[in-house]
């Protein structure tokens, strides 16, 4: 039932070497992969690029073929009002629903803003959000 709310995120490992991110960006372009949202998490010596793309299945295959470490993960997307306090509203609902976020990132274009986040049990989290009346986005809505 919650299946349609599962957004496929691609996570890509970035080596600690100059130009590695540019290489990955070039690979995305070569494979004609359009990013709808992305975020880069950095740590000591490496990084993880997290991206929501047009056709994640195809992107996953093409990037893997190029020897890039990529992983598919389900994340949840909820709409956000693109104005001060927007994040607070979202955070409050998630907190009230007692959902523990592993990580999250917001993304906005001129039409809309969304908050993407990763939890341990995405399906349970979606049910809780729906139960408190929160709107959860589907793949086609982002």
């Amino acid at each position: 039932m919650t299946e349609k709310y599962m957004i496929k995120q691609l996570s890509i490992f970035i080596n600690n070497e100059p130009g590695r991110l540019a290489q990955i960006a070039a690979a995305l372009k070569e494979c004609n992969i359009n990013m709808k949202a992305f975020n880069i998490a950095e740590s000591s010596g490496f990084g993880v690029l997290r991206a929501i793309v047009d056709d994640p299945g195809r992107a996953y295959r093409e990037l893997s073929k190029k020897g890039i470490i990529v992983k598919e993960t389900n994340v949840i997307a909820i709409p956000m009002t693109d104005r001060p306090g927007g994040l607070l509203e979202v955070a409050k609902v998630i907190g009230d629903a007692n959902i523990n976020i592993e990580y999250g990132y917001a993304y906005s274009d001129k039409n809309k803003a969304s908050f993407f986040f990763r939890v341990d049990d995405a399906s349970a989290a979606v049910s809780k959000l729906l139960a408190v009346g929160m709107r959860v986005l589907t793949e086609t809505e982002i």
Binding site: F13, N15, N16, F46, R50, Y103
Partner: protein, 433 residues
């Protein structure tokens, strides 16, 4: 000042005779009582009766670190367990460490060697000696401790670490001499500066006995000028007991006590003996060892033997400063590390492709840092940073467990590290000595 003038200044002819007698007895004993050495001599087609002069030593087979590994832990021991009074342990080339055993007499001649050496640099009963080598499995701490006590010095056994405390004790207790790695002394100098301590004004330190890692004449000049002390080179390795030999105050080579050890140099490729003055791989025969005799041990250090008489009056041969290694062993903060140990450890971690790695060594503010890059397997990749940090930590703690040094680990993507055709060059040593 001599500790044992009769032996240290024995005429060369007499010394050689003494060496021949010791060698002959050692070979006879081992042929009769050591299965390991009996088989080794048999395989080389040499019998004790073939040793008719000192130069006949070249007929005897070499020993290597692999002999110690293959006979781990005590198969090479020639003394019964009840006579073994101590063990020391150092790195092996792969999984098993190198174990060395000592009888009471072995500790005695080791201590005697160091007593002669310390006396030859003017360290004696008026001195307070800080031993900042590691105490424990490593031979440096306990070896120097015994040697310094033997000459009557007051020993301050600080071991390694807690540098600020070491400096405070050095000042409070009027320390006059120190034994440690040269890089640690430079590091101490830096810490002292930050604490507002002027070595020349605030400490009574006058002499340092430095070793357990390669260093250079430049570094000696730097240390002596910066700290206002005399710095002497010390040499030895656990297989021959531990640190045993130093330069004398002439600073023109390390005196190798002839009654204790017989040194040769060989061409590392052809194994041909080289003469004095020719640089080659050092081969040491310990003439007096009871628990674990070493005959023609290939120590893998490159040096030159000097036979001319030293101005100090001692007649033993000397070896020049070690210029390099004939294997790929690295010395990181005084600890021996073999790339094969790193590989052995990595191969046991399923999340990485252990056969592919790169080792980088840097020296920053006089301290050595080792970084190991490893290739992660795609399955091990997680979108959660936390999981990746856990993996990194796991790899470095495994390396720490096997190598006994802190290692910085860098995760790399599969197939991203260099591949080699022929001999792999997996080590980048960027230290400038």
């Amino acid at each position: 000042m001599y500790w044992n003038q009769k032996t240290e200044c024995m005429p060369e002819g007499k010394l050689k005779k003494l060496q021949y007698k010791s060698l002959k007895r050692l070979v006879n004993d081992l042929y009769s009582f050591s299965a390991f050495y009996h088989d080794k001599m048999k395989a080389a087609g040499v019998r004790p009766s073939d040793i008719r002069s000192l130069s006949d030593i070249s007929k005897l087979p070499f020993m290597n670190k692999s002999d110690l590994r293959d006979n781990y832990p005590t198969k090479m021991f020639t003394a019964p367990g009840k006579d073994v009074v101590r063990y020391h342990v150092s790195s092996g080339t792969t999984g098993k460490p190198t174990l060395v055993g000592y009888t009471k007499n072995d500790i005695e001649f080791w201590t005697e060697s160091l007593a002669r050496a310390l006396t030859s640099v003017g360290i004696g009963s008026d001195d307070v000696m800080q031993v900042s080598y590691g105490y424990g499995l490593f031979t440096g701490g306990l070896g120097l401790h015994y040697g310094a006590e033997r000459v009557g010095a007051t020993v301050l056994p600080t071991s390694t670490g807690s540098t600020e405390r070491q400096l405070e004790l050095m000042m409070d207790l009027d320390v006059t001499a120190i034994a440690c790695t040269p890089s640690y002394l430079v590091y101490m100098g830096g810490v002292a500066k930050k604490m507002g301590i002027d070595f020349q004004r605030d400490t009574r330190l006058r002499k340092a006995v430095l070793g357990a890692e390669p260093w250079s004449e430049n570094m000696r000049q730097h240390i002596e000028n910066e700290l206002g002390i005399q710095a002497y080179d010390i040499y030895g390795t656990s297989e021959i007991s531990g640190p045993m030999f130093t330069e004398c105050t002439e600073k023109k080579g390390i005196h190798i006590w002839s009654d204790v050890c017989l040194v040769e140099t060989i061409d590392p490729d052809t194994e041909e003996s080289l003469g004095p003055g020719q640089e080659g791989e050092l081969v040491i025969t310990v003439l007096k060892k009871e628990a674990m005799p070493m005959i023609r041990y290939r120590i893998k250090d490159l040096t030159t033997i000097i036979e001319d008489k030293c101005a100090c009056g001692r007649t033993s041969p000397r070896i020049k400063r070690i210029t390099g290694r004939t294997d790929d062993m690295l010395i990181i903060r005084g600890i021996n590390v073999f790339p094969s140990q790193v590989e052995h450890t990595l191969l046991q971690i399923p999340q990485i492709n252990g056969g592919q790695y790169m080792i980088t060594v840097d020296r920053i503010d006089s301290l050595d840092y080792m970084t190991v890059q490893v290739e992660m397997r795609p399955e091990a990749f997680s979108d959660k940073i936390d999981d990746m940090l856990k993996l990194k930590k796991h790899i470095s703690s495994e390396l720490k467990r096997y190598l006994n040094i802190a290692v910085e680990v860098e995760l790399a993507a599969p197939d991203s590290l260099p591949r080699f055709e022929g001999k792999a060059k997996r080590v980048k040593d960027r230290r400038k000595l």
